[in-house]
Subunit: 241 residues, 2 copies
């Protein structure tokens, strides 16, 4: 059977997942396009698929819809012919490994870029402040290219959590454009939680106070700062060496 | 005098600069907001300013407009109270220095991010393929944070230009996810033109054939590729050391 009605109840429920409010209520989210659906499947995160004018078997329930119906679900300029539904999962932070903390990163493209680089450079733990952009929105997921499925990601109040990390032997490294130590000089022998701040304003004051030291990336003085996705990536690249 | 009419001829002409066609005809472009206007001024690129409910003197002609008029020019969600008009300038590529070549980069945010990192890591020459996104659109300029004013930027047919660079002693380094040499191993003693490809498809075939070798960034095999802004930045960061 192919669902042809855009007001079908199941379709209505799926469409609602494009809004953060409903994602949080249902603990579910949408991934669009074959690449992301495949990554969701490979990592055991795929619950069901919605298909339009194609068929592919992932061993999960399938729903067939018309292109008109798919258009009402898809958030992409060119409608996907496959969409996956995934459940949000709590992945515990691995307290033996470094952690990247994002304090108020606002741009979904930046968040996705950072998740992609985290996998590339073997940093498995990501902690998001409650003020950071939602990682389950279409743009974040698209920029992450499915790499979110390989990471432990936690969203939590940072002030409390940073205290907890200190008790667990983490050095807290803030990032600041000029103050602190060059990221190239950071010893690889300690356990770090590195904090990246908001695109315009950097770290919040309360979080800044909790840092043990700051690190920076050496650069030409004509450039005030790097894009946060770039600076997070270079720091992870250096710590991975 | 404050211009109150949105159909004023001068305002109409300025508004047209939001379209690439007119920018190319007039050889002029708009920069929005105090930070970009200031960078345009510092680098001698500011021709005139449009002001709304404020006054500031850069020694260039000023036009005062109402908020309603400014709204029809501004491309930002929150209308700027200052907009600058700049002339496109031909900055010659410095053939004693490394060059970053962008072959079909499509996302204005990625282009801007790359220009920002180029200044940070002392890479002064940027060459754009004719297929790359326009560097004078609002999003590119905003992501570049005014760093475009510190760079020599040329837009040209790559196939011919790469041949010219070879004759001038450049080694042409392509980028490929796995094939080639690790960017960490690249000798700093040669003159390079490094080519970054399109977000989805990498370098074009014709350009790929012209490369002397490929470089890559070492990463976890679960990650197929990095965001192009990140990989360009890491390569420039390494070559700057």
């Amino acid at each position: 059977m192919i669902i042809e009605s855009t007001s079908n109840n199941k379709i209505k429920d799926i469409r609602k997942l494009n809004e953060k409010k409903y994602r949080d209520e249902e603990k579910k989210y949408i991934v669009e396009g074959e690449h992301l659906v495949l990554e969701a499947y490979k990592s055991g995160n795929l619950d069901e698929v919605i298909l339009c004018e194609r068929d592919i078997d992932f061993g999960v329930p399938k729903t067939y819809v018309t292109e008109a119906v798919m258009k009402t679900i898809s958030m992409l300029p060119s409608t996907s012919n496959i969409i996956g539904i995934c459940s949000m999962k709590d992945n515990e932070i691995d307290l033996n490994e470094n952690i990247l903390i994002l304090d108020g990163v606002q741009d979904p493209g930046n968040l996705g870029t950072i998740l992609r680089s985290a996998v590339a450079f073997n940093l498995k733990n990501i902690v998001l402040s409650e003020t950071s952009v939602d990682m389950y929105n279409t743009k974040s997921l698209r920029s992450a290219q499915g790499m979110n499925f390989y990471l432990n990601i936690k969203r939590i109040n940072l002030v409390e959590y940073i205290s907890f990390l200190k008790e667990n032997g983490y050095k807290i490294l803030g990032t600041d454009v000029t103050n602190g130590i060059d990221v190239k000089s950071v010893s690889k022998n300690e356990k770090y939680a590195i904090i990246m701040g908001n695109e315009g304003n950097g770290m919040s004051d309360k979080v800044r106070e909790l840092c043990d030291k700051n690190i920076y990336i050496d650069m030409n003085e004509n450039c005030e700062s790097l894009n946060v996705g770039v600076s997070a990536s270079i720091i992870m690249y250096e710590l991975n060496k």
